[in-house]
């Protein structure tokens, strides 16, 4: 009984932490409430986010502010076509030791940080993009046959511009799949634009307070995984995943017509884990169907590959996900 009394306390602490981060970010970032929540969810789930939006929406600002508010190390990598993998992971440098003997010393790259901003990730070549694969999945990098562990928490926040496609290299599906969420940045409203004008043209705000540290984040990460979820809800999530696949969902719909390949099992992991985090932040001791539905677009949209017909007709993955969520019943025999 005493142990169970901890649960509401930890839920309250998780909620409070989120509110604190959100409040701190609100000092410099205008709007994007849902985006901030999703980024925080990805952080406490140990996932990475792909942020997509036109230039000037505050993607970089938000990531940098987040790192500042979290008291975590931060590095930014501007992806360009001439960027090499070693520029990300680090490289072996020939140096001399104290005795004057020449040795190879590993110079850590910018990937060695808690929060890594991969700005305009689609401007680097696929070879360079792939340098992130191991880091994102295994949380380690291998250089010259030697593995180097990255510090926890580790989070990659990659940005990409959806309109300037010239001179870009679309991310390979394998890499896209490694992103926990794909978040879309909406253009600010009139009120938000006014506030942005106020914030950026007056006296700059004071430096952000560090409201959360790595230890607290790792604790919340453990609590997230302890949130109970009913088998029926897991089954619902699984059926959502299957419904994104053509020829496997048993339904007639857009997925059947426009999807080349549906969401991967990583999509299910993302769906369930994100739903758990959302429940925790809502101070609810269990996952609900609404949690699954709420995180489905961010978890699944980048994992659905449209076929030529879908591309030609301008069908979006968001539309497919919305249709699937509306069609799949919560309980099914």
């Amino acid at each position: 009984m005493e142990a169970s009394a901890e649960v509401p306390e930890r839920m309250a602490r998780a909620r409070k932490s989120y509110e604190a981060v959100k409040a701190e970010l609100a000092r410099v970032v205008v709007g994007h409430d849902e985006l901030i929540e999703r980024v925080f969810i990805a952080l406490v789930c140990g996932g990475h986010c792909l942020l997509e939006g036109v230039p000037g929406l505050g993607k970089t600002l938000m990531v940098r502010s987040l790192a500042a508010a979290l008291n975590l190390s931060f590095s930014r990598i501007q992806f360009t076509p001439d960027l090499m993998p070693a520029d990300i992971t680090g490289t072996q440098m020939l140096t001399e030791d104290a005795a004057g003997k020449k040795i190879f010393d590993f110079q850590r790259g910018p990937i060695f940080a808690h929060i890594v901003l991969a700005d305009e990730i689609n401007r680097a070549t696929p070879k360079t993009q792939s340098a992130l694969l191991e880091a994102m999945q295994e949380q380690s990098v291998t250089v010259a046959g030697k593995g180097h562990r990255l510090e926890s928490p580790f989070m990659v926040l990659a940005t990409q511009n959806p309109i300037e496609m010239e001179g870009t290299y679309p991310l390979p599906e394998a890499q896209v799949d490694r992103f926990f969420f794909k978040l879309l940045l909406e253009y600010p409203s009139r009120e938000e634009l006014t506030r942005i004008a106020d914030l950026t043209t007056s006296t700059p705000p004071a430096a952000l307070d560090r409201v959360l540290d790595a230890g607290a984040i790792l604790k919340i990460r453990d609590w997230v995984r302890e949130v109970p979820i009913a088998a029926a809800i897991k089954d619902y999530a699984a059926r959502l995943i299957l419904a994104t696949h053509p020829h496997k969902n048993g339904r007639e719909g857009s997925a059947e017509k426009y999807v080349l390949y549906g969401a991967s099992p990583r999509g299910l992991q993302s769906l369930v884990l994100a739903a758990k985090a959302r429940a925790l932040l809502a101070e609810r001791p269990n996952v609900s169907f609404d949690d699954i539905r709420a995180v489905a677009p961010q978890s699944l949209r980048h994992r659905i590959i449209l076929n030529l017909e879908g591309e030609a007709e301008g069908v979006t993955a968001e539309k497919i996900v919305a249709e699937v969520v509306a069609a799949v019943p919560e309980i099914e025999a």
Partner: protein, 464 residues
């Protein structure tokens, strides 16, 4: 198991038990509704299902529907899950109940799960399952009482009973009922107690069959038993021999006896032997006394009173016996007709012969035929030629007016006589009376035939 888990388990058990009970009720009510609907649809075709009483239609349909529904809607694990899910939705528990229902089945419960159990138990503690999930009535369950009532009404009204073989099987019962009703009226009019009892017994038999209380087989057995009962030996004739009297004569005699009894009552102004003068005007009484060898002149009023009472009783007995024979004959014909697979083609009710002509035309009585003056014999009358061993049909215009045909059943079969020797003359006379009434005897021969059969049994020298 913690207290919360136990409380939750109990609540979920209550919920599932209630939902199962509701489903069983619903299945039974819907099966009932569909069964009576099917029975209603079958009712017009009950003739095709002659062997099955309509009472069994809904029972059989109910068994079929109930079996089918119970199979299709059998309780499965997903139904338990759906019940808990419905509870979640109803109370807006955000899947707490659904998750708790799984956790209560687990042995090892984590801290977070333990907290969830306590929270769910707290929220479900005061929930009244039966109030929250009330019975829902689908249209078949709502229609069930109306369908039952409609079906009962239609069965009561006998809808569909007039079609097909069912009608055929009911025809003998209808005939028996008509016969019994007529016999009852007749016996009431003539004050024949025994005949009245018999008529009522026959009517009850027919009624049982008509309301389907008895099967056709049972009905046949009842008819056979009744016929056997009527086979009991005829009591010996009494002091007076009334065997030579026709039914009409016996009725007239009873009427005279009633009159005689009233005339024998002593009046203060009556002279000595005045009653004899009064009785002289009753010819049938005189003739009866004469036949018995007595004479009114030699009797006092007391003796005469006793004699009249005895004569009246015997006349009533004679009429009862004749009715009994009529019934026996009717039952025999009715049963023969039934065994042949339908109503007897030749079956007719004694005393109703005039209505039973095959062409449906009402027979014309002797007095209604033109041509003959009362008491005068027709000049053109000739004796018909009968061929022994074969049915003989004589057709022809005997008189101006309507033509008539006669069928004599002269075919004989070898074997023991079914009619006791003592009752033979009476049975012959009854047959003669019926044939006369049915206009089967040519008018010119009626008197001859009548005299011949009346003379049977009265003259010992005549061969029988």
């Amino acid at each position: 198991m913690s207290h919360d888990a136990a409380a939750l388990r109990e609540k979920f058990s209550e919920l599932i038990a209630w939902e199962r009970a509701k489903r069983i009720e619903k299945v039974l009510l819907e099966a009932l509704a569909y069964a009576f609907l099917a029975a209603l649809l079958l009712l017009p075709f009950r003739g095709l299902l002659a062997r099955v009483s309509p009472v069994y239609y809904p029972a059989a349909a109910f068994a079929l529907f109930a079996a089918g529904f119970f199979y299709i809607r059998r309780w499965r694990p997903i139904d338990s899950l759906c019940a808990v899910f419905a509870l979640d939705r109803a109370l807006r528990l955000d899947a707490r109940a659904l998750t708790a229902a799984e956790i209560v089945e687990k042995q090892d419960v984590s801290t977070a799960e333990h907290y969830l159990l306590s929270e769910a138990a707290e929220r479900l503690k005061s929930v009244q399952i039966r109030t929250l999930f009330k019975r829902e009535w689908s249209w078949p369950t709502l229609a069930a009482p109306a369908l039952v009532a409609l079906w009962l009404a239609l069965v009561w009204l006998g809808v569909g009973s007039g079609t097909g073989t069912a009608a055929k099987s009911a025809a003998p019962a209808e005939k028996l009922k008509d016969f019994a009703q007529e016999l009852e009226q007749k016996s009431q009019a003539q004050k024949l107690a025994e005949t009245l009892k018999l008529a009522r017994a026959l009517k009850a038999l027919a009624q049982e069959r008509l309301v389907e209380k008895t099967s056709e087989e049972q009905f046949r057995q009842n008819l056979a038993a009744m016929e056997k009962r009527l086979d009991a030996p005829v009591p010996p004739p009494g002091e007076f021999d009334l065997g030579g009297y026709t039914r009409e004569e016996l009725a007239a005699l009873r009427a005279e006896l009633e009159t005689a009894k009233s005339r024998l009552r002593p009046a203060p102004t009556m002279r000595e032997n005045e009653f004899l003068d009064r009785l002289q005007s009753l010819p049938r009484l005189g003739e009866a006394l004469k036949r018995s060898g007595g004479a009114m002149e030699n009797m006092g009023p007391g003796d005469l009173q006793k004699l009249i009472d005895s004569l009246e009783q015997q006349a009533a007995n004679e009429l009862d016996q004749r009715s009994r024979a009529d019934v026996q004959q009717f039952l025999s014909m009715l049963m023969q007709g039934q065994e042949g697979g339908g109503a007897p083609a030749q079956a007719r009710i004694p005393g109703r012969a005039a209505q039973d002509r095959p062409d449906g035309e009402k027979s014309v009585g002797k007095g209604e035929l033109p041509g003959d003056e009362p008491g005068m014999k027709s000049q053109a009358a000739q004796a018909p030629v009968a061929t022994p061993g074969a049915a003989t049909r004589i057709t022809g215009a005997l008189n101006p007016g309507a033509s008539s045909g006669v069928t004599w059943r002269s075919e004989a079969k070898a074997g023991e006589s079914k009619i006791p020797e003592q009752g033979a003359p009476a049975a012959y006379r009854r047959q003669m009376e019926e044939d006369l009434a049915a206009e089967k005897i040519p008018p010119a021969l009626k008197e001859t035939v009548k005299q011949y059969f009346l003379s049977l049994g009265t003259d010992e020298k005549k061969p029988r």
